[in-house]
Symmetry: C2
Subunit: 240 residues, 2 copies
DNA sequence: GCTCCAATCTGGTATATACCAGATTATGGA
DNA sequence: TCCATAATCTGGTATATACCAGATTGGAGC
């Protein structure tokens, strides 16, 4: 039955997609186990996993480490060029945000960062590592490297809210210009562990380097997002 | 040997990475075949494929359909907010660009596009589908939807160069503002075929919707990039 | 030197079968 | 009722083994 045209695992992908629609499974609902699916669709677990991985790549479903497969919620819209806090834009879109500070410390500027900021290696630097949730799904982890010369005592404050807001309100610091980099990568090491996903899971990297009006280094933000979690949306140009 | 701590395919990943460094394989060079690698590293083809897929996700190597594995060239830097032609910025970075027009036609605006542009369904619209290469590796395919009311006769021109440049020089059209969207997705269907990659290969989607000074629809650009091919780089703010 | 075709090489797909490790659930005792 | 622990369920890893289909190569015949 059904020749040549189309490999089995892609046919399975289609059947799973249809099945999910029929069952009206929605955001964050759980799929049956792989063993059950492979029986129900008359194939082996290996092959059903290929089909599931395909749907994962397409962003329809995601896996929660050794717990099972779930329906992916819709993407969060995000504009990295604007200074608006995570909690703010998540709430604005009708979701519920949460932030966990995994660690924060005063450390010394490593060579790679020195190269970016122009400041000498060993300069004191704040380092904050946080995990952010939307509707209790961890979507990203984020490293903030902040220039303590600009905001002494920052680490004694709570970092579970917007750092940007704190910099503005407590230290009167507003970024004047930034360099932004964005590219797809594989989540691995610390970032994969912190998000509780497998090594090599697809992700999106967002890098924001901010300077103040004097052209001095203010902050570097390195965000590691799940690939299916966000949609970057930017408006460029005059009006609107 | 080597217990619990680390799965074999990740160890293999590390060994392959080291091996590639030692051999000093560089951009677009070919790796030995999977069968040869699995023998050389004392494992099965299935497992070596897991390790190779890992390196593929990380962007170190890429596959060319049924031909083999190759070292990924460095990422192309790209600023979607600027109006600068593909050929221009590719050349600028020391690479050699090429564009193929796969088809171009005058058609009618479909519902999904009508929703975005605000123009009625069925309005005439130019549709150009192109493939772009850097150093003879196809990195992206691109759909251009252009408003013919703004540039009658555009399709008789060659579309193998910059459409943006043509709009500017021949029709005096410059986008006044745009909406840009960026997100990771899986390449599939026409886009996967045209880039000669497997269904479900990781990709990056870039969407640029341009309006002229009257606020009227000028052009929609939908780009499908290989995930390992580019690094988006944008400068935001005042000086520099 | 060229063209065409067959042999061969490559990765892609598919099945069967274990066992492992973390997460969850059930159970039984305090 | 609560808590610790054991049983069970889940996806993750690993090996062996086919065969398929597109790409490349090599050689025969012109």
């Amino acid at each position: 039955m059904s020749r040549a045209e189309y490999p089995v695992y892609l046919q399975l992908r289609d059947r799973l997609w249809t099945w999910i629609e029929q069952e009206q499974l929605c955001s964050q609902q759980k799929l049956p186990s792989e063993r059950e699916l492979s029986e129900r669709f008359g194939t082996t677990r290996v092959t059903i996993r290929q089909a599931l991985s395909q749907l994962e790549a397409e962003g329809l479903i995601f896996r929660s480490n050794r717990r099972g497969w779930y329906i992916t919620p819709e993407r969060l819209r995000y504009d990295p060029s604007r200074d608006i806090g995570f909690n703010h834009y998540v709430t604005e879109q009708g979701f519920s945000p949460r932030t966990e500070t995994l660690f924060k410390e005063l450390t010394e500027m490593p060579p790679w960062l020195s190269e970016i900021t122009g400041l000498p290696v060993g300069t004191p630097i704040y380092h904050v590592f946080r995990r952010r949730y939307v509707n209790e799904r961890g979507l990203l982890v984020e490293h903030n490297f902040i220039n303590p010369a600009k905001c002494p005592g920052l680490l004694s404050e709570s970092t579970d809210l917007s750092i940007w807001k704190m910099l503005k309100e407590q230290y009167d610091l507003v970024p004047d210009h930034r360099d932004i980099e964005i590219y797809p990568l594989a989540l691995k090491g610390l970032e994969a562990e912190s998000l509780n996903v497998n090594q090599g899971t697809a992700g999106l990297y967002i890098h924001r380097l901010s300077f103040d009006q004097e052209g001095e280094f203010l902050e570097l933000d390195r965000e590691y997002w799940l690939h299916d979690a966000l949609k970057i949306s930017v408006h460029v140009g005059s009006r609107h």
